[in-house]
């Protein structure tokens, strides 16, 4: 089937198999490999992207469901060291990443979380990121980064 999805501000029209998941559309059809796959049960959140302003796990959305929608991936946030989104910058300043694998999904989930709740508390960050797994950081610095970014545009879309 043919889908037309606006990804990072650019309209993408492609023929895909009906069963194509959004994450495979992003990674394989568009070559946007910043979005990672970490599980097959919608638990890890490594594939989190923002669709129409809401964070979604792109392994659990069909490309067909995203037809006509707007999708934002890590590549569409800040694109270089000098042009980082406040959430990306907070992750860097607070050493909120190690191996980097969960990072794109974690950042997108964090942006969405803070977008919805700019005055977020530590407990709310922890609950809010329960669906995004990280094995390296023990979450300590991720929570710190999200709280730091919350006060400085971390939820800007």
């Amino acid at each position: 089937m043919k889908v037309s999805i606006e990804v990072n501000g650019k309209k993408e029209e492609h023929d895909v198999e009906d069963r194509t998941l959004l994450v495979f559309f992003l990674r394989e059809t568009l070559g946007l490999t910043g979005t990672n796959i970490g599980c097959d049960t919608t638990n890890c959140g490594a594939c989190t992207v923002i669709m129409n302003g809401e964070s979604v796990k792109s392994c659990t959305v069909l490309a067909a469901q995203a037809d006509g929608q707007k999708v934002l991936t890590i590549e569409g946030l800040g694109t270089s060291q000098d042009d980082m989104h406040p959430m990306q910058e907070a992750f860097r300043q607070n050493h909120a990443l190690q191996c980097g694998y969960c990072t794109p999904g974690m950042v997108m989930a964090a942006v969405s979380l803070v977008h919805d709740n700019p005055n977020i508390t530590e407990a709310e960050v922890r609950e809010g990121l329960e669906g995004n797994l990280c094995r390296c950081t023990g979450y300590h610095n991720i929570v710190k980064a999200v709280l730091a970014a919350a006060g400085s545009g971390g939820g800007d879309l």
Binding site: R92, H95, L129, E130, C134, R135, H140, K144
Partner: protein
């Protein structure tokens, strides 16, 4: 001003944060085929037949392979201490020995088609009795390898002294299961292979040790090592489980050669949960004896290690457990015996701590039980038995030489930071009021071994004619931050800013030799190698500058701020790094290579204190505080070191509280995906309170010990002790790990005589 010891932000991060890392599965190879493995659904069965016909006919399928096609033969265990009859075929031949073992490989033009076709492979099994637990395995009633004649893979028994506990007023015995856990790096395993027309293999692998994979591939495929290039680009975590070379990776290379086309493989998480090695799996009989005034006189640990279906690194880890058997305590008599057995489960491998968490968990938990038995505060019992700081280097009863430590101070720092007396007072109050939520305070004082078996590591530093530097390292970071840390070491010596220093790793063609990143070895092995290479480059540049300036090299100094060499006192005439590198170009470049082997391991130590709140009605545990003192010697970058501790703490808490790999009685895994496996999340953890402590080691010039695993080693028993401590006044002696609500609830109800369910 020195850059060392500063919180320098990571050079690696902008890429990870803006476009993401480059992991193996992000790298497309032109014309590549995709492989999907067909895995055993039985724990133990004979394979009667495999019908691949339907799969071969499926759309896009290029080939289907079974053991009959693979001409690489069964391989004996890599380590000579294992029973060599316990061989493994890359694809199971006549018998499958664990759920998840590869039986067939389907190669197709797309990943989806390979997966679809894999479903069509029909395997007829004749089930055999499954050996799921280690005690059953030891009875040898069902043998995994009849040719071996036993399930015992490795025997390390030293004997038992019947009078061992003589003279002890109090003896406490208990059986602990240091249960199996899943390493769960966020990136699962992936590999891809491509052969050149000349027969040279290029393999991408998600690994902690690319040079090890290179050797593994060369050995398995009967190639000269020069015919193999291994690249490990960004690697999404390893935690010990990505050290070896797995059958799936070897087969990828073999299939690419057979088909004459590149082949790619990435597993699913559900495959990874059974295919990637597991950690721990040690059944422990623990005995501790001492006097009523709190002096420990004898300690004995007998273990049965679960090696899983094919003995690998996990089966040899009791050796590490023994090496630090008596932990931080000065105990006159110790005894240790271990037997490693095979079972019909996923093979066990190294996992963060690898043999040392098991040692710490055993002694720290039983020490609390001993304290409860004699009615003494567990902090006081520890204090009375700690090795004193003037006793180093300290030789333990098992012959290990601890380099340096100050265990009393680590304990004191943790107690002070937590305000231990206030915590005990709060606990007392809750106990007296009969509150539903009881407070537990758990302690653990630990020592561990890093760079346990020192081997050589490669480091090279080259100043290029444009004044930038390239560092090549044999370590293989996958989150640790070597790109920043090694640049800091070199910048410190050369005066060149880290922005101009490139660190290269994970390509065996560019880095000629290397061992990799595991066992908390990297800084004290690879970091020292890089540091020494930097020293050598400075000396070479000084010599060159002296020649050009017609001066005595001893009079030439490096002005790090100006990044140039000049004769002391006459800064006007000098030579910059750029000029010297250009000058050296015709003489092989301004470069130095070092292969460094440490004279011995180092022994980080620390004290963890955990405050847990236990709901006595539901059994739910909430961790309120984690105070962690971790001393890994001199710290190169506190930000990176803290990050390592944080991650370690989380994994240690996870084992104590949540995570457990479980099998049913037939050997079916019941935690084979992330919906069923209780992977720790942010919601179950508090923020950590880390207290800095630095006691430099004399073992290396950086004064550094490893910090990668300490957090895990110390925290598991601290959490476990906190949970049990919350219930001790109710008569609960012990709650097995992980301390799930059900287990806690059951322990309370059994102790208080209420009906158990």
């Amino acid at each position: 001003m020195s850059i060392l010891g500063n919180r320098v932000l990571r050079k690696e991060d902008p890429k990870f944060l803006t476009v993401g890392g480059t992991y193996v599965d992000d790298i497309g190879l032109a014309g590549a085929l995709h492989v999907a493995y067909v895995r055993s659904t039985f724990a133990h069965a004979r394979i009667l037949s495999i019908d691949t016909e339907e799969a071969r006919k499926a759309p896009g399928v290029v080939a289907v392979y079974t053991a009959a096609d693979v001409d690489l033969g069964p391989r004996p265990p890599e380590m000579p201490m294992f029973n060599q009859a316990m061989t493994r075929s890359l694809l199971a031949d006549d018998t499958v020995r664990f759920v998840g073992e590869c039986v067939a490989a389907v190669v197709a033009d797309t990943r989806a088609r390979a997966v679809d076709a894999a479903e069509l492979v029909q395997i007829d099994y004749d089930p055999l009795p499954a050996v799921v637990d280690v005690e059953t395995a030891l009875r040898d009633e069902t043998l995994l390898f009849p040719a071996a004649g036993t399930n015992l893979a490795m025997d390390m028994t030293f004997g038992t002294d019947e009078h061992f506990m003589d003279g002890c007023e109090v003896v406490v015995r208990h059986q602990f299961l240091n249960h199996r856990v899943a390493p769960c790096p966020l990136e699962v395993r992936a590999a891809s292979a491509e052969w050149s027309p000349e027969g040279r293999l290029t393999q991408y692998s998600s690994t902690q040790a690319p040079h090890g994979v290179k050797s593994g591939l060369a050995g398995a495929l009967a190639l000269d090592e020069a015919q193999v290039r291994v690249l490990s680009p960004d690697v999404g975590g390893g935690f010990g489980a990505k050290m070896g070379t797995y059958p799936e990776e070897l087969l990828v290379a073999w299939m690419a050669r057979r088909l004459g086309r590149p082949v790619r493989w990435v597993e699913t998480r559900s495959e990874s949960m059974v295919g990637l090695g597991h950690g721990r799996g040690q059944l422990q009989e623990v005995e501790i004896g001492g006097s009523r005034d709190g002096r420990i006189l004898a300690y004995r640990l007998n273990v049965i290690q679960d090696g899983g279906a094919y003995p690998a690194i996990g089966a040899v880890l009791p050796f590490m457990t023994r090496t630090m058997l008596s932990g931080v305590y000065d105990i006159p008599k110790v005894e240790f015996n271990s037997r490693s057995v095979v079972t019909n489960t996923t093979p066990t491998v190294a996992y963060r701590g690898a043999g040392r968490p098991e040692a710490t968990a055993a002694i720290e938990r039983v020490l609390d039980m001993f304290a409860a038995e004699i009615g003494m505060d567990p902090a006081e019992v520890r204090r009375r038995n700690l090795i004193q700081k003037d006793a180093f280097p300290f030789t333990t009863p098992t012959g290990t030489v601890y380099d340096i430590g100050d265990y009393v101070r680590a304990l004191d720092l943790a107690l002070e930071a937590a305000d231990y007396p206030a915590l005990r007072a709060a606990q007392k109050q809750r106990r007296e009021s009969g509150a539903t939520k009881q407070l537990g305070i758990g302690l653990s004082v630990y020592v561990e071994i890093t760079n346990g078996m020192p081997s050589s590591e490669f480091g090279a530093v080259e100043v290029r004619p444009d004044g930038t530097v390239v560092v090549r390292t044999g370590t293989s970071p996958h989150g640790q931050g070597h790109v920043t840390a090694w640049a800091m070491l070199v910048s410190e010596q050369l005066g060149i800013p880290i922005e101009s220093i490139e660190v290269v790793h994970g390509d065996t063609d560019v880095v000629p030799r290397g061992v990799g990143t595991f066992g908390s070895r990297s800084l004290q092995a690879g970091g020292v190698a890089v540091n020494q290479a930097a020293t050598a480059v400075v000396e070479r540049a000084r010599q060159l500058a002296a020649d050009l300036l017609e001066a005595n090299p001893d009079d030439v100094i490096l002005d790090k701020v100006g990044q140039r060499f000049h004769v002391q006192g006459t800064p006007a005439a000098g030579r910059s790094w750029k000029e010297l590198a250009a000058e050296a170009e015709s003489q092989g470049g301004l470069t130095a290579e070092v292969d460094f082997t440490a004279p011995g391991p180092t022994f980080p130590f620390g004290a963890h204190l955990v405050v847990a709140e236990v709901d006595t009605e539901t059994g739910l545990v909430e961790i309120k505080r984690i105070v962690a003192v971790d001393d890994a010697g001199k710290i190169l970058n506190p930000m990176l070191a803290e990050g390592q501790v944080h991650g370690g703490l989380a994994q240690g808490v996870a084992q104590a509280l949540l995570e457990e790999v479980r099998y049913d009685e037939d050997g079916n895994p019941v935690t084979a995906n992330l919906a069923d496996y209780a992977f720790v999340t942010a919601a179950e953890l508090p923020s950590f309170e880390r207290i800095a402590m630095e006691t430099p080691t004399p073992v290396n010039e950086l004064g550094a010990k490893g910090i990668g695993e300490s957090g895990t080693i110390g925290s598991t028993p601290a959490v476990h002790n906190a949970v049990c401590d919350a219930l001790v006044h109710l008569g609960v002696r012990h709650v097995p790990m992980p301390t799930s609500p059900q287990r806690v609830w059951r322990a309370i109800n059994e102790a208080t005589g209420k009906a158990s369910a």
